[in-house]
């Protein structure tokens, strides 16, 4: 048994136990399971949001982008900041509607605002299709991190299997509360790992990040300005991508619903103020990617940059710590993804689409059962067909962002109609599929999802003007 293995295994077990413990003495109904009884204060909300948002991509993807693409990686730093600014205005309003009508999910919101179950089912299906590949990506990331960090002692398949059965277990027992609690461990470990490595490696190899940048500017100045070391990710791409992802950020069904867990609209506003500070660790991750480019320039897979540099620099027990941090960093977002994929299917596809008379208790039991089904499906995909869902993954962000016009107009524009939103959504999704599957992304230098969003807005506005307006009292009722 090596030290790394003990640390990784111990962390996975301990986190899961904490997640299960979080749900004790809470009577599990749909309200408690999905939105924590709407009682989360600023700390739990912050933990939950950060837990969902900062995924394995923060570890591997951001350093990998800095390593192989260079300046286009900076988009990651920008879009989160824009998203928090949007959330300051949007989430408190979403929370109020959620509280007033006892909503649990994003399709619930569409069903209530637009009085349309068809729209709800469509939103739920698009949501689930975007969530499953994202979940699989987390699984794959977890396996990859643990296998590399334990130096092969803990195989990728075994790591995925164990940690996901345990994740499944704490979602089943504790719901959203479990995710928020495990997030405590996740956030602490991730910040320590990223902080130590991000400040450490530039100092160890160059005597500070300023000197590291000096060396990089001398060797590869083009890497640090757009389009970096890519051919297509120029200014227009970054600008359209940060607009798309900044607006689409809270349209992910699991992140949208997290807004309902807050105890007040004010909590959501305060949370929006503090969230941007969470972007600072991303800067450290970039430092690691850039240092890796100078120290180990010949990696075939850029996503290895973070782990390879840690492996070269630190003792194996610290590598184990990084592996453990990576594992919980995958487990927390996954738990929420599984939770909402199941609830969307049970509540918004089964109940809203096929059986409106189903009791809440029945929906709850079905949701819990679907946790097992969805985890199993994602496991099968991750273990045996790792590239089967790659097209869906490419479309995920572009797809969920198409909800944005429906949400914003629904809250703030009296003239919007359900047919308008429906046609905008269908047009947007069609353009996404056409451009992404036809390999036309970027399109005219812009992110294809952004092009689709513009078409979506045009359709929503145009068709809304041509059709009979909604009953606005749903939003404005007191």
């Amino acid at each position: 048994m090596n030290a790394a293995l003990v640390i990784i295994f111990g962390t996975i077990i301990f986190s899961s136990l904490l997640g299960i413990y979080a749900g004790r003495r809470v009577k599990m109904n749909l309200e408690n399971w999905t939105v924590g009884g709407r009682r989360f204060g600023i700390i739990l909300i912050w933990l939950l949001m950060a837990g969902e948002i900062y995924t394995t991509f923060t570890f591997l993807g951001a350093s990998g982008w800095a390593y192989s693409k260079g300046a286009p990686a900076f988009y990651i730093l920008i879009y989160g900041t824009l998203a928090y600014t949007v959330s300051f205005f949007l989430l408190p309003e979403i929370w109020k509607i959620g509280k007033r009508y006892g909503l649990h999910t994003q399709p619930d919101f569409f069903i209530k605002i637009y009085d349309s179950r068809t729209l709800g089912v469509l939103v739920a299906l698009i949501g689930v299709c975007s969530i499953i590949p994202y979940l699989q990506l987390q699984l794959a990331g977890l396996g990859f991190i643990v296998e590399v960090a334990s130096n092969g002692a803990f195989s990728s398949h075994l790591a995925i299997g164990i940690s996901f059965l345990l994740t499944c277990l704490f979602v089943y027992t504790s719901g959203i509360r479990g995710a928020a609690w495990v997030s405590i461990i996740k956030d602490i470990m991730m910040i320590v790992a990223v902080g130590v490595v991000g400040i450490g490696v530039p100092s160890i190899y160059f005597g500070g990040f300023g000197k590291m940048f000096k060396a990089l500017i001398a060797q590869k100045p083009h890497h640090l300005v757009l389009p970096g070391s890519t051919a297509q990710m120029d200014l227009l791409w970054v600008m359209s991508t940060v607009l798309l992802t900044g607006l689409g950020f809270y349209m992910w069904p699991h992140i949208f619903s997290a807004a309902f867990s807050a105890k007040s609209a004010k909590t959501m506003k305060r949370n929006a103020i503090v969230m941007p500070f969470y972007q600072i660790p991303v800067l450290f991750v970039f430092m690691v990617g850039f240092t890796a480019l100078l120290v180990i320039p010949d990696l075939k897979n850029g996503d290895l940059a973070f782990l390879a540099l840690v492996n070269k620099t630190y003792p194996s027990w610290f590598m184990g710590f990084v592996g453990a941090a990576g594992a919980v960093t995958a487990m927390v977002p996954s738990s929420v993804l599984v939770l909402f994929a199941s609830t969307l299917l049970a509540k918004n596809v089964y109940q809203a689409g096929f059986n409106p008379r189903a009791s809440e208790d029945r929906v709850m039991r079905l949701s819990r059962f679907l946790v097992l089904v969805i985890t199993t499906c994602a496991l099968i995909f991750a273990l045996f067909f790792p590239s089967a869902l790659v097209n869906l993954l490419l479309m995920g962000y572009d797809g969920v962002t198409q909800f944005f016009p429906g949400v914003v107009f629904g809250l703030f524009w009296k003239r919007v109609t359900r047919i308008g939103v429906l046609s905008g959504l269908v047009a947007g999704i069609s353009i996404v599929a056409l451009l992404v599957l036809g390999r036309h992304d970027p399109f005219l230098g812009m992110n294809a999802g952004f092009v689709a969003l513009v078409v979506n807005v045009v359709f929503t506005l145009g068709v809304s003007f041509l059709t009979k307006p909604l009953n606005w009292r749903i939003v404005k009722a007191k």
């Binding site: 730093l77 600014t85 300051f88 500070g208 007040s264 305060r270 941007p276």
Partner: protein, 73 residues
């Protein structure tokens, strides 16, 4: 729209202007400030300024908006 929300929206437009529309103007390495290439320094500064801006927006809303029933909880 209430006055406080209007003022808050104007303030919140700042990160969008500087982090999206001003990017073509800052896409360069020189001058290197605090060890960071200029484009990165620019982005990081706005990441740090944004919470301050949002706090300002929060205070403006508090000062000028008449609170709704649901805001009081």
């Amino acid at each position: 729209m209430q006055k406080g929300t209007k003022l808050a929206l104007i303030l919140a437009a700042l990160p969008f202007i500087s982090l999206v529309f001003a990017l073509p103007l800052v896409n360069r390495i020189e001058p290197v400030i605090l060890g960071l290439p200029f484009i990165l320094f620019w982005i990081v500064s706005w990441v740090i300024l944004t919470p301050v801006i949002l706090l300002g927006a929060y205070l403006l809303e508090k000062k000028f908006n008449v609170p709704e029933e649901e805001d009081k909880q």
